[in-house]
């Protein structure tokens, strides 16, 4: 079924990606991530000694501060902070630096759809830039279900508003391995078949959700490639990919 998207993309086509690391002078790690017109800046400070009061001192603590483009900080920002915190906690190895705090600041520069996935991607690259020990990278994508039942990836803000439901999905990245049987597996399944985070809005059927997962996983391999190419270049260059 042909779909008519405003910018002429196909169903599964992502917007042009651009990522620069080490752009902030004072932050210990920083990255700017843009997907089309959505642009997010992430800065990482740490690890610094000391944890917050209610946190476990035997592990590192990650705190996230989300700054919207305009307006005051409200419940939506707090929700984004919580989702980001849980996602980053599952990809970072928290036992390497016990009793430390790593602060991640997210600044929204422009919001044109798929904001939370862009923020997750930016935060992940900023953590790599700061040298925080991680299990693997996180690759985030937004899939939405139209009223007609069609599933499209990486919507713009206008498209998001017209959709019946959408899902933000975060997958682990593809790893290269010297092992003969390929990537490491957890309980028999390769790591790439796992999922880190899934946030849904609106109502969609179970079949639609599984279809979104499938499409999202396929797109995450392209994003993984982009991340790998970006990290293999020197840190202070910015890179663009289509």
């Amino acid at each position: 079924m042909e779909v008519d998207r405003e910018d002429g993309r196909s169903q599964n086509q992502l917007r042009p990606l651009a990522c620069s690391r080490s752009i902030l002078h004072r932050a210990h790690g920083s990255a700017s991530w843009s997907q089309g017109d959505t642009k997010v800046l992430a800065a990482v400070y740490g690890p610094r000694a000391g944890t917050k009061k209610n946190e476990n001192p035997e592990k590192a603590c990650i705190e996230v501060i989300w700054k919207p483009k305009t307006g005051q900080i409200g419940k939506l920002e707090k929700e984004y902070e919580m989702i980001l915190k849980r996602t980053l906690q599952s990809i970072c190895i928290l036992t390497v630096n016990p009793n430390t705090t790593t602060s991640v600041m997210i600044q929204v520069v422009n919001d044109d759809g798929a904001l939370l996935p862009s923020a997750i991607n930016a935060a992940c690259m900023a953590l790599v830039d700061a040298g925080i020990p991680m299990r693997h990278l996180a690759v985030a994508i937004c899939c939405c279900v139209a009223r007609s039942g069609l599933v499209i990836l990486d919507p713009t803000k206008l498209e998001e508003q017209k959709m019946k439901a959408f899902a933000y999905l975060v997958f682990p990245n593809l790893v290269h391995s010297v092992l003969p049987e390929g990537s490491p597996s957890v309980q028999g399944e390769p790591i790439e078949n796992g999922i880190i985070t899934s946030v849904t809005h609106g109502t969609m059927s179970v079949d639609d959700y599984f279809y979104c997962l499938e499409r999202g996983r396929a797109a995450s391999t392209k994003l993984s490639d982009f991340l790998r190419r970006n990290l293999q270049q020197q840190p202070t260059n910015s890179s663009k990919a289509g």
Binding site: H28, N99, L137, S177, G182, S183, P184
Partner: protein, 222 residues
Amino acid sequence: MENKQSSSPASFIGSTVIPGDVVLDLSSMANQTIKLGDGLREDRDAISAMKAGTLRCKKPNKYRIESCQKRYVPCAGDTVLGIVVDSKRDDFLIDIKGPALAFLPVLAFEGGTRRNIPKFEVGTLLYLRVVKAKFGMNPELSCTDAHGKAAEFGLLKDGYMFETSTGLSRKLLSSPTCPVLESLGKKLPFEIAVGLNGRVWVNAASPHTIIAAANAIMNSES
């Protein structure tokens, strides 16, 4: 779509790896002791990377990931530049740009006794050696070398301290002498102390020379 899993090169040594990449297969190296340096962790039967960087191997069995960061991971035997943050009865608390504050015992000086404890104010810059850096404990520092002699460790007076990345510090300390320092030394007389934690101190007779040398070193990072 290409099958990424089939592209497993013979080894990743010398190439860039990203977090999650499995770099060593332990099942093919039974009965060998290998030492893991910074950035690698043991994950069931294999060694995987925790950071993005270049995998380096020092024969015969030491592996580590070389990456360039703004923060420092304390390692025993390194020389660092620390700033005094607080002083307690038995040690000074020093900030070395790592995840935890480091302790400098009050007696860790050449000929140090309880009677001649140096008085360092908060903010003093010191050139120190990392004695111990174990997991979970604050690193321990010393102002003497392994034999107990002062060997230029201690207070750095005057001059100018600036921060760089750990990659640049390693390059400045590499041997043979880094080309930047060599060519600078032919033109300007200055003295320099480089800490592996990303701090560099430069001193010269006039502020003009200090600024020129500091700018040259900061701009040499490509």
